[in-house]
Every structure is written in C-alpha cells, then in structure tokens.
C-alpha cells in the first residue's frame, strides 16, 4: 500500500476511535455499542500500523493473492457481525416495547377509563 493510502487508513481509524469516545462522553451512545465500535476502530488502527506487515501473512493464509482484498473481506465480515448484533438488539427492544405498550394500555384502562376501579 502506498504511504499516503496507509496514512489515510490510519487517520480514518483514529477519527472513528476519537469520534466514538466523544459519543460516549456526550452520552449519545451506550457502552454496549461503544465497546463494539471501539474494538473495531482499535483493530483498524492496528491493521494500519503495527499489524500491517501481518496483513500479507493473513492474506496468504486466507488464500487471497491481493492483501487489500483480505482487508476488505475482514472488514465486511466484521461489519456483518455488527449488523446482526444490531438486529438482535432491535428485536429485543421491539419485544420490550411491545410488553410496555401492552402494560401501559392495561394500566391506563384500569386507572383512567374506569374511575370506579381506582384505588383497588
């Protein structure tokens, strides 16, 4: 990889890392997801710096003749896992929202729409 390209990957990873830290500090993102993105950005930082020479070895282990393609493969695999994790989390939130909506409606009927039931 050309030195400029190398610097671009490193800078991007650093920006992502700092941006996630800022989001955590501002409480815009919870620890659960912050952890995933921090791990991902640290991996990107490593891949573009200390671990860069190993990229060639990983590529040859994976049987990929062009090392940047191996990087793309690993990145896409990582992002896919993140998206699946996100879908699982959304499903869980959806379940919780449904239960809360149902309970809210039941409590509302019990305490507001039927005044005689209040205080029971």
């Amino acid at each position: 990889m050309h030195a400029n390209g190398h610097a671009l990957v490193f800078t991007t990873a650093l920006v992502v890392f700092l941006f996630v830290l800022w989001l955590v500090r501002q409480r815009h993102i919870g620890e659960r997801f912050a952890m995933l993105w921090l791990v991902l950005s640290v991996l990107m930082l490593l891949a573009s710096s200390a671990a860069y020479p190993y990229l060639f070895k990983i590529a040859s282990l994976l049987g990929v003749p062009y090392p940047p393609s191996a990087l793309f493969f690993l990145a896409i695999a990582g992002l896919t896992l993140l998206i699946i994790e996100l879908f699982a989390w959304v499903s869980k939130l959806n379940d919780r929202t449904r239960v809360l909506t149902q309970q809210l409606a039941i409590l509302r009927e019990r305490y507001e729409l039927h005044p005689m039931r209040k205080g029971k």
Partner: protein, 275 residues
C-alpha cells in the same frame, strides 16, 4: 387517588417484563403444566375483541356479544385506531383498552391474553372486530374447552356446514398450513388460520408471554403443541366481514405465506427447555 398514582409510579421496568429462563420463556409458563377447570362455579370468560378502525362493524358485534352472553366480560383492544373505534366502544358495555401505538394483530390479541391471565379468567375467546366471527357461536368453543380437556379450541369453517369459507386462493393457503400443522401436531387441524379460538388458563399463561407479532394463528398452534398443550376444533359458521378491508391484501399474501412458513420452521426446530 394518591395511592393509585403512587402505585403507577412504583411499577418499574423489571416488574413489567417477565422473568426469563435460559430458554427464552418465563419460568412461570413452564412450571405451570396443570390446569384444573373451576369446580362449583361458572367459568369466568373474557371475550377479546381486537379492533383496528372497526368503528362501523363494532357496535353491532358488541351488542350481539353482550346480549347473547351477559355473563361474559367483553374487552375491546383498540390497536391505535384512527377512526371512531374508541367512541363506538364507549357507547357499549364493553371494556376498552387502547394501545398507544399500533402493535399489529399479534400484540393486540396478546394484550387481551395478558388481561385474562392477570385478572384470573378461566377462559378467553378471541372474536375479531370485523364481524367475521359468529357472535352467537362463542358458547360452542367455550363449551368445547370446558368439556373436551383441550387447552385451545379452534372454531373451524371447514368441519362441516355452510357459511363463508374465504376466497379460493386463500383456501389453498389455509389447506396448506392446515396440512402441515396436522402432520406436525399429530392431530387433525382443518382451519389453521382461524382466529376464532378459545383458550383456557394454561394456554393463556403461555400465549400471554409468547405470541407472534404478525399472522400469529398458525405459529401459535405449533408452539402450543410443542409446549404440550392440547388443541381441538369445533365446526362454526363464519360470515364475510361486515365492513372495512382485510389486513392481508393480495400483495401481502406472498409475504404472509413466507412469514408463516418461516414461523412454522422456527417452532419446529426451536429447542424447548423445561427446566
């Protein structure tokens, strides 16, 4: 009044959400594997009417239900209607539970299951708000639950007699799912998609915590079977919906088939933990 308000404040998230086992279902569902029908008293029956924009058909249905079955309690679960459904219900003797946002048919009916479970009803019956389900035949499926020992009794359009039996294309879909359910549940099911059903307390205990969001009827039968519940059918005569349009249009039919097939597959392979 103050006490009532205080009690609402005290309801925390952890209290509202059921305690879950490792297998994903509340322990209470699994622990209660016996249901004893009431002795020496009439069963408490709750008629659950899920409704979404059914202001035109509800008044007649609710009048019929309350006049035919004065001893049964009727609760309309309004799934965030944007017409005058709530107003129509308030003019009747039926209870009204209004969901603050649209949950779909599964979440709406499940709200009724929760009410039935929490308030100790012995039997709950789903009667759709569109007027398709026969208001004068509720006792048939209620009696079947009481006498047959089944936990869930389905009112079937196809067990005999006349009445509206859906469009030809939908009948193919119904027969497809009925065939699969019959094979998987080792019992003859002729109307897998019928929502006209009666449930006893044991079934309510399960379905109030686990019920599919969309098109839940077919999945619910298989899930109930996998949890060891008994399922039966009785013949009923249904009619065409009195007003409004079905939630399953022609374009959605393909999605319906796919989603329900996936639901059957998931419940066929899902591991049921009982400890």
């Amino acid at each position: 009044m103050a006490a009532a308000k205080l009690r609402i404040v005290e309801v925390t998230l952890s209290m509202l959400l059921p305690a879950r086992t490792k297998g994903g279902l509340p322990a209470s569902v699994i622990e209660q594997n016996q249901y004893s029908p009431p002795e020496g008293r009439a069963p408490r029956v709750l008629l659950i009417v899920p409704a979404y924009n059914e202001a035109r058909s509800l008044p007649l249905l609710l009048d019929q239900l309350t006049s035919h079955y004065p001893d049964y309690e009727v609760v309309v679960v309004d799934d965030g209607s944007i017409d005058r459904t709530a107003e129509a219900v308030r003019r009747t003797r039926a209870r009204l539970v209004s969901l603050p946002c649209n949950l779909g048919i599964g979440g709406t009916v499940q709200t009724g299951f929760r009410i039935a479970r929490d308030e100790g009803f012995d039997i709950a019956v789903q009667v759709d708000g569109d007027g398709q389900h026969p208001a004068d035949q509720v006792h048939l499926i209620v009696n079947a639950v009481m006498q047959s020992g089944c936990d869930i009794v389905i009112g079937s359009r196809f067990l005999g007699g006349a009445g509206f039996k859906s469009t030809p294309l939908r009948r193919i879909g119904i027969q497809f799912f009925s065939f699969w359910l019959s094979a998987m549940c080792h019992t003859r099911i002729t109307d897998a998609t019928s929502g006209f059903r009666a449930y006893n307390a044991r079934a309510l205990n399960l379905l109030s915590v686990e019920y599919a969001e969309d098109y839940p009827e077919v999945e619910a039968v298989l899930m109930a079977h996998r949890f060891g519940l008994r399922i039966g059918e009785v013949p009923v005569h249904m009619s065409e919906r009195s007003a409004g349009v079905s939630s399953i249009g022609s374009l959605r039919s393909v999605g319906y088939m796919l989603k329900v097939s996936l639901g059957i597959f998931m419940w066929a392979i899902r591991k049921i933990r009982t400890t």
